[in-house]
C-alpha cells in the first residue's frame, strides 16, 4: 500500500512537468504520454536504487530524456550538423510569439531543433532549472549545457524567424 501511495504522490507531483517535457521533446501527444508512463514504470522498477530522495524529480527527468533518446536511436540515426558561426544564427531582430498560432509554430520549431539542443532548451524554458541542474539531468558538463542552450535558443529563434520549409508545409 505504501508503494501505491508513493507512486500516486509522485505522479501527482511530477506528471504535468514530465508530460510537458516529453511533449517538448517528441511533439507528439501519444509519444509524450507513453514516455511519461514508461518513466514511472521505470521508477517502480529501479527507483528504489536512488538513495537521495531529494533527487527524485531530477531522476525522473533524466530517465525520461534517456528513454526518449533511446527510442530515437532505434528509429533513426540522425546526423549531427555542426553549427558554423552561432552568432550569425541569431536573428537581427528576434521574433516574438504573439498568438496561439505562433505558439503552435514555436512548438513545431522546438520539435525540429537539433535533438542535442532540444532537451536543454526545453528544460531551460519549462522548469526554470539552474544550469547546474540541467547539466546534472542531462549528464553533460556545465559549460556544454550553457553552450547548447545558447546555440539552441539561437537556432530556435532563427527557425521561428524564417518561413516554414516547403517540404514541411507540403507534408501537412
Amino acid at each position: 500500500m505504501d508503494d501505491q501511495l508513493d507512486i500516486e504522490t509522485l505522479v501527482d507531483q511530477h506528471q504535468a512537468a514530465l508530460y510537458r517535457f516529453a511533449l517538448s521533446l517528441s511533439h507528439n501527444e501519444s509519444d509524450a504520454l507513453d514516455l511519461v508512463q514508461e518513466t514511472f514504470c521505470l521508477w517502480m522498477r529501479k527507483g528504489g536504487q536512488l538513495l537521495d530522495r531529494g533527487k527524485v524529480k531530477a531522476w525522473l527527468f533524466t530517465t525520461l530524456h534517456r528513454e526518449f533518446l533511446g527510442r530515437r536511436r532505434r528509429l533513426v540515426r540522425f546526423p549531427h550538423h555542426e553549427l558554423t558561426e552561432v552568432e550569425s544564427e541569431l536573428p537581427e531582430i528576434p521574433p516574438v510569439p504573439a498568438d496561439q498560432a505562433d505558439r503552435e509554430r514555436l512548438l513545431e520549431c522546438l520539435a525540429r531543433l537539433d535533438p542535442v539542443f532540444r532537451a536543454p532548451v526545453a528544460l531551460f524554458y519549462l522548469e526554470e532549472y539552474a544550469y547546474q541542474d540541467i547539466a546534472s539531468i542531462l549528464d553533460v558538463p556545465l559549460g556544454t549545457v550553457k553552450s547548447r542552450i545558447s546555440r539552441g535558443v539561437a537556432q530556435l529563434q532563427e527557425m521561428f524567424h524564417r518561413p516554414l520549409e516547403p517540404s514541411r508545409e507540403a507534408s501537412r
Binding site: 505522479v11 510537458r20 552568432e87 537581427e92 521574433p95 514555436l106 512548438l107 526545453a122 529563434q157
Partner: protein
C-alpha cells in the same frame, strides 16, 4: 565584449532568473545599456524568452493523464517480494492448476461462451462482493479502468435507466471481467458482465439472446469489442423489457 558576443551570452539568459547572474552576463547587460541597437535586440529577445517559457509552461496536460499513468504502472510494476512469497506462489499455482484443469480442460470447452456465462452466473449465485459501491457510473468506469477491466462498455437506454449500485472486477481465463451491479425495481440486483470479445469462443450475436442459467435469467449479446451478459433474478418477460 563585442555586441555579437553579448548577444551570444544573452541568448541563454532568462529574465528574472537570479541564479544565472555571472560576470559575463553582467558585462553583456552593461553593454546593452550603452548600445541602442543592442538594446532593441535585447528587448525583443527578452520578450521571445518570456513568450517561449510561457508557451511551454502552459502546455495543456491530458485530463486523464494521472489515471493512464497509474493504470500502466500497476500493470507493469513488479510486486514487492513480500507480497509474493515463494511458498505462497507455489501453493497457489498448484491449486490454480488443479482448479483450472478441472474447470476448463475437458474437450477444450473451457473458453466457450456458454462456459463463461455459467461461470459468471455461478459466481453471483454462490458468493460475490462488490469491489466498489457507488451510485456513480463514472466512478465505476474509473475503477474498472484502473483495474484493467473493460470500462468502455455501452449501455442501451433500458439499462442506462437502472440505478448503479457498484462494481467488481472478476477474472476469466486470465482476462479481466467487469461486473456492473444495477438496481432493479424489485429490489434485487441485475449483474452486467463485460469481457473482451477475444476472451470467449463462439460469442453471441448482436441481438440479445435470452436463456435461463441456474436460477437466473440471462441476456447475452456482442457489441463492438465486448461480450455482454446480463444476469438477473427475474422473468424472461421482465428482462426483455430492458431491451
Amino acid at each position: 565584449m563585442t555586441p555579437a558576443e553579448a548577444r551570444l551570452t544573452l541568448a541563454a539568459w532568462r529574465p528574472g532568473h537570479a541564479s544565472e547572474r555571472d560576470p559575463a552576463v553582467n558585462d553583456a547587460l552593461r553593454l546593452v545599456r550603452q548600445d541602442p541597437e543592442l538594446r532593441l535586440w535585447f528587448e525583443q529577445h527578452a520578450r521571445f524568452q518570456r513568450a517561449a517559457a510561457d508557451t511551454l509552461q502552459n502546455l495543456e496536460v491530458p485530463s486523464r493523464l494521472r489515471e493512464q499513468i497509474l493504470a500502466r504502472v500497476r500493470v507493469d510494476a513488479p510486486r514487492p517480494w513480500w507480497r509474493q512469497p515463494v511458498l505462497w506462489a507455489a501453493a497457489a499455482s498448484v491449486v490454480l492448476l488443479v482448479g483450472l484443469s478441472l474447470w476448463w480442460m475437458p474437450g477444450d470447452r473451457g473458453a466457450t461462451f456458454d462456459t463463461f456465462r455459467s461461470r459468471m452466473v455461478r459466481t453471483v449465485i454462490r458468493q460475490y462482493s462488490m469491489d466498489i459501491e457507488t451510485s456513480s457510473m463514472a466512478e465505476v468506469r474509473q475503477f474498472l479502468a484502473r483495474h484493467q477491466a473493460p470500462a468502455d462498455y455501452t449501455l442501451n437506454p433500458g439499462l442506462s435507466r437502472l440505478p448503479v449500485q457498484g462494481a467488481g472486477r472478476l477474472s476469466w481465463r486470465d482476462r479481466a471481467v467487469a461486473m456492473v451491479c444495477l438496481g432493479a425495481t424489485n429490489q434485487s440486483t441485475h449483474f452486467l458482465f463485460v469481457v473482451d470479445r477475444a476472451a470467449v469462443k463462439t460469442p453471441p450475436g448482436p441481438v440479445p439472446e435470452f436463456a435461463p442459467v441456474s436460477q437466473l435469467m440471462t441476456a447475452s449479446w456482442t457489441a463492438g469489442d465486448h461480450v455482454y451478459v446480463l444476469a438477473a433474478s427475474t422473468s424472461l418477460e421482465e428482462l426483455r423489457l430492458l431491451f
